[in-house]
């Protein structure tokens, strides 16, 4: 039984990482109905920038490096909204979607030319030593990021539920025209959303970067969170969190307990299988808003 819980908890910890990436997608989708292909690249870029500030170009202390990284992501958010998205306001979502492809390649390209292509280690000074709680081994490192993710999520929920700007963003995501009619500027709302998504991407990028090293494959972690989005519903933040946990726990448990009997390697396809099942029964995801078109 102890072993089962160990596998489960390790899975949940990985799941939180998926949730982090998925939340970034959800934020931007809710605000502008765009699936942001560049979300993974944003995480990568944030990771690269942090390494740059911390070790590669400057030797800033950690807190300052993090502030600088967030500042870089903020500048990116402004650039994306005013250079890329602004000319496309009121165009079909597909055009915005294609534009985010461009942003993705641009970020990867700029990242390569500034920081080079080598994988870089990112050491935040958190010890990766497992410790024991009633017979179950936990990693300090995993717990730390679970804590960070929890704080981030609580912060986001508070921001969206309690503040005026949060309310305005929810209004924009519900109905663009109505939001304009009460005086909410669309572009500013988008900018704030992209900044918030940038911060979330930074946390995700740092978490994954510390774990796997900051390398260009981080950009593809985004693909691993696709089934998370399908399961949770692409417009639901709680959905992203819960689906991330389900996928993380599911793939780990599946790998350990079912894997051996089917020859292993379940981890790579299990999330997609799960997503397929969910799609069959709940096409908008477990928590997604059902879109009812009036005929």
């Amino acid at each position: 039984m102890t072993f089962f819980f160990e596998v489960l908890i390790t899975g949940l910890m990985v799941g939180i990482m998926y949730s982090l990436v998925a939340i970034g997608f959800v934020l931007i989708f809710k605000a502008s109905e765009v699936f942001n292909m560049a979300q993974g690249a944003m995480s990568l870029f944030a990771g690269l920038a942090l390494v740059g500030f911390l070790e590669q170009y400057l030797q800033l202390p950690l807190w300052l490096a993090i502030i600088c990284t967030v500042a870089v992501m903020t500048v990116w958010a402004y650039a994306v909204v005013f250079v890329v998205l602004k000319p496309l306001v009121a165009r079909p979502p597909l055009m915005l979607f294609m534009a985010t492809f461009g942003v993705m390649y641009l970020m990867e390209g700029i990242g390569q030319s500034i920081y080079g292509t080598q994988a870089k280690g990112l050491n935040l000074g958190i010890p990766d030593i497992p410790f024991e709680v009633s017979g179950i081994f936990l990693s300090t490192f995993d717990l730390f990021f679970a804590g960070v993710a929890a704080v981030l999520v609580i912060g986001l929920v508070w921001f969206f539920q309690k503040t005026r700007s949060g309310r305005a963003l929810r209004a924009v995501s519900d109905d663009h025209e109505a939001a304009l009619s009460v005086g909410i500027p669309l572009l500013r709302a988008w900018t704030i959303t992209w900044i918030v998504a940038g911060v979330v991407a930074t946390v995700a990028g740092v978490a994954w970067g510390t774990r796997l090293g900051v390398q260009f494959s981080l950009s593809f972690i985004a693909l691993k969170s696709l089934p998370v989005l399908i399961i949770g519903g692409i417009d639901s933040i709680p959905g992203a969190i819960i689906a991330g946990l389900i996928v993380g726990a599911g793939e780990n448990l599946g790998e350990v307990f079912i894997g051996p009997s089917v020859g292993g390697g379940i981890q790579t396809f299990f999330p997609y299988l799960l997503a397929l099942v969910v799609l069959y029964f709940k096409p908008y995801g477990l928590f997604g808003k059902e879109i009812i078109e009036r005929v």
Partner: protein, 261 residues
Amino acid sequence: MNEKPEPILRAEDIHISFGGLKALNGVSLEIYPGEILAIIGPNGAGKTTMLNIINGFYKPDEGRIFFEGKERPRRMKPDRIAAQGIARTFQNLALFRGMSALGNIMVGRTMMMHSNIFSQALYWGFSQKEEIEHREAVERIIDFLQIENIRRTPASMLPYGMQKRVELGRALAAEPKLLLLDEPMAGMNLEEKEDIARFVLDANEELGYTIALIEHDMGVVMDICDRIAVLDFGNKIAEGSPDEIKANPEVIKAYLGTAGG
């Protein structure tokens, strides 16, 4: 015509077409402070188009708009126009469906709240005080519209008539200088219509709002409006008091078809 005060809004010779369709063909319209103006006309006459131009969703091909005596820049964005004090409701309801009735009305006050995003995140005191002040104003609106019992209900779960009321509340929350109502009573039963008519009248008489509304129910229009403008196929064919409009042969023709038909 007797002497009138400066109009709060003057639209001058508005033209707009969509593809080949001339939706408005040189329409001029004045809205005076303190009045209820009804814009009526058969379907497709251009009534909603006119509201969309007044609140900035559409830019007219030709024509000028003056608000409080000042000409509006051609490319002014709808959110800036809302900030100037023009609020509206929609023909097909445009509530924020994920939010409660209260949340919807609070969003209506966006323009009146000033704490910026950083102070909301960091400077608790001021933001919180502001939040409470506005919450009080919103509660007054909720009282006014008699929707106390549904304030926590998500907008999407409310019955249609209540959604219309919440939408009116959201528009009132902005304390606009000019309130545009696009068919506030469409699809309602008699009782609901009477309720809304009373709220519109009270908003005008007690709270002093200037209102322009589109409505198809002639009974209501004749009862509550001070003036009526009639559109037909993108042209203004008549304007005047309810009695003048009732007697106007052009209007009768537009509504009932040609004489003898």
